[in-house]
Symmetry: C2
Subunit: 223 residues, 2 copies
C-alpha cells in the first residue's frame, strides 16, 4: 500500500480482504488502458447519479466529455466525483452459491473535475478520448473546428486519488468440505472483442475501412 | 413518455435528444435481462461512490448483494441510490471527431433500497442473483445454509423509477458535408461472449462442466 504515486485516503483505502487491491500507479494505468467507457458518479440534488461515458487519458489526467446539455457534466465541476472503470473477466462458479464471485479489474478514481477551457488542452483531451477507443482515428477523420470545440464540454480529473481492485483465479472453495460434493467448479470467461466493421449504409461500396480499424477485429479493447 | 408502469420523475426524465429514451417496462426488462453486473451509486460522506456489483431480478425487484463489510451496501438502505446497467454494442466511427459516439443500451434505476431480512425472500433474491449470470447453477450447487445467509447482505430495490437510453445505428453525419471527405464511416461492434470454461486446477480431470455451463460458450450473457 502507499505505492508509487497514488494518494491513499479514507475512501480509497482498501477494505475487503478476499479481493486484491492496489494503489500502484502502474496497476491503475493498466486498467484504464484496457477500456474506453467509465461510469461517472455525481451527486445531483443529494442523490448519486451514475452515467456511462467515454474517457481518455493524457499526461496524468482523465478526460471525460459529453454534450453541454448533460446534467451530470454541468454539475460535476467543483464537486467531488467518482469515476469507475470495470472490466469483467469471468464468472467464478464455485461448489456453493455463497462462494460464487466474478473475476474483474476495477479502478475507482475520486477527484474534483476541472472544466477545460484552454483550446489547446481541449484539443489534447479530445484527442486522448478519440485515441482511447480507436487509436489512429484522430488523424484519419476531420478534427474539431472552433464551433464544435465550443459546443463540447470537457472535464479533466487528476489521477492521484485512486484504487484498483481485481479478482483473478479459481473459486476459493477448492480446499473446503464442499470439494467432496464432486461438482464441477471453475471460471466461465467473459470475452470482449471487436467484431467485423459495419459500414454506414450510405457509404459507397468502394470505401473500405482503414487498417487501424480492421486490425482491431477479434481483439479486445486496449490491445 | 409515461409508458406502461415506470414512474417518470425529474431525474429520470429524458433530456438528450440524439439518443433514444424509453420509460417502457419492457425496454427496462430487456436491458436488465442481458447482463449481470451493474454500477451502484451511493452517497458516502457527501460524495458519490460508484461500485460494480452483481444483480438479479425477481418479481419486480432488483436484488444486489455483497459482503456485510461492504461500505456501499451498509450505507445504501434508507437513502436513494442509482443503479446503472450498461451494455456497450459498438464504436460509432464518424467522418468528424465531433460526431463520434458509442452504441449502447443503458438502464438507470433510482430508489431507496430495502435490506432484505426475511429468510425466504433472501433465498429468492440470492437465487435470482445466481440465475441471472448462470441459469441452472442454483439447482446444481450447494445452496446457502443459515450461517451463510446471515453473513450475506441483500438489498432489494423497486424497479418503478427508471429510464432506458439506447443508441443504435450508423453515425449521424452521412448526410453532412463531411460525407464528401470520402472517409470510411460506420460501426465497429463490441462483442461480449462467454469463453471456454476453465476448470479449477484442483478438480479431478473426469469432472466435466455441466451442460448449463458449456451451452453458454460463444454466446453473449442473457442468451
Amino acid at each position: 500500500m502507499g505505492g508509487d504515486g497514488l494518494v491513499v485516503t479514507e475512501r480509497t483505502r482498501l477494505r475487503r480482504i478476499r479481493e486484491q487491491g492496489s494503489h500502484r500507479r502502474g496497476d491503475l494505468d493498466a486498467v484504464l488502458a484496457t477500456g474506453f467507457l467509465c461510469h461517472l458518479g455525481v451527486v445531483v440534488d443529494g442523490t448519486a447519479m451514475v452515467v456511462p461515458t467515454a474517457y481518455g487519458v493524457d499526461d496524468g489526467q482523465l478526460y471525460l466529455h459529453g454534450s453541454v446539455a448533460s446534467r451530470s457534466l454541468v454539475q460535476a465541476p467543483g464537486s467531488t466525483v467518482c469515476v469507475t472503470v470495470t472490466h469483467v473477466d469471468g464468472l467464478v462458479l464455485a461448489r456453493s452459491v455463497f462462494e460464487h464471485s466474478v473475476n474483474y479489474r476495477c479502478a475507482m478514481i475520486y477527484g474534483v473535475p476541472r472544466l477545460v477551457t484552454d483550446p489547446d488542452e481541449k484539443l489534447r483531451g479530445l484527442r486522448a478520448l478519440t485515441e482511447q477507443s480507436t487509436p489512429g482515428q484522430w488523424e484519419y477523420v476531420r478534427q474539431p473546428n472552433r464551433k464544435e470545440l465550443a459546443a463540447t464540454a470537457l472535464l479533466a480529473l487528476d489521477l492521484d486519488e485512486a484504487s484498483v481492485k481485481t479478482r483473478t483465479g479459481p473459486p476459493d472453495d477448492g480446499d473446503s468440505e464442499d470439494a467432496a460434493l464432486g461438482l464441477w467448479a471453475g471460471v466461465l470467461p467473459v470475452v470482449t472483442t471487436f467484431g467485423e466493421p459495419v459500414a454506414d449504409p450510405v457509404l459507397a461500396a468502394d470505401v473500405l475501412p482503414p487498417a487501424h480499424v480492421t486490425s482491431r477485429v477479434g481483439r479486445p479493447p486496449g490491445e
